[in-house]
Symmetry: C2
Amino acid sequence: MISKRLSELRKKRQWSLQYIADQLNIAKSTYAGYESGYRQPSLEAVKELATLFGTTTDYLLGVTNDEQPTIELTNAAFHMTVDGEPLTEDEIIQLIAFIRTKRELEKHKK
Amino acid sequence: MISKRLSELRKKRQWSLQYIADQLNIAKSTYAGYESGYRQPSLEAVKELATLFGTTTDYLLGVTNDEQPTIELTNAAFHMTVDGEPLTEDEIIQLIAFIRTKRELEKHKK
DNA sequence: AAAATTGTTCGCGATTCGCGTACCTTTAAT
DNA sequence: ATTAAAGGTACGCGAATCGCGAACAATTTT
């Protein structure tokens, strides 16, 4: 799974194997091994690759299929901030209501 | 890092080494090695551990420090949904404005 | 078409894995 | 209090896997 993800991400960015190897300070053949599935990257390498590609380790490992995670706001199983300030329970509720109301209005406009 | 995280999460849940070992189908000593730092789990094991603990691999690996990720809404580097429907760019902008305005009003109320 | 860059594969030595085992500590049962 | 059971820690062993360098093919650049 990770080999597929790495290969996709690298090609999308048009980066060479050598470039990535240089960024992580590993041999080209080592990184090539990750993509071919011949080798598995260390946990440390996985972290660095996620950072380099601007994605999450969950995506690289295939825990999730979203390169940028998708968040369902009605499941408050996570924390949100605006301008660094955490949202309160109430604010989240109002926010969801705001979106729902707006959508309801749009629907009738048609 | 991962050893520290695993240890914390397990203790918080009051699970035994054996219990986790059974869940992942590995030897108790193998999992114990993860917590002591004597061994590193395979990528597959990391995935399963994240699922078992209901957290993310990013947290286990120390990419993030939030067991439940914190999302800054003004960085739209991710996707959001309400009732399964993705939010549009505009909706996000309005939503942030909504929160900011509300906070501004609160401030003056005091 | 020659040179340079990129990508693929593989053998080697070194490292690290997972397991079983042994042992100590803590908890539960009698 | 004594014993049994369960939880936790440490380590040796054989097997598996790592990272690297090297050799070579494929592609791109000059």
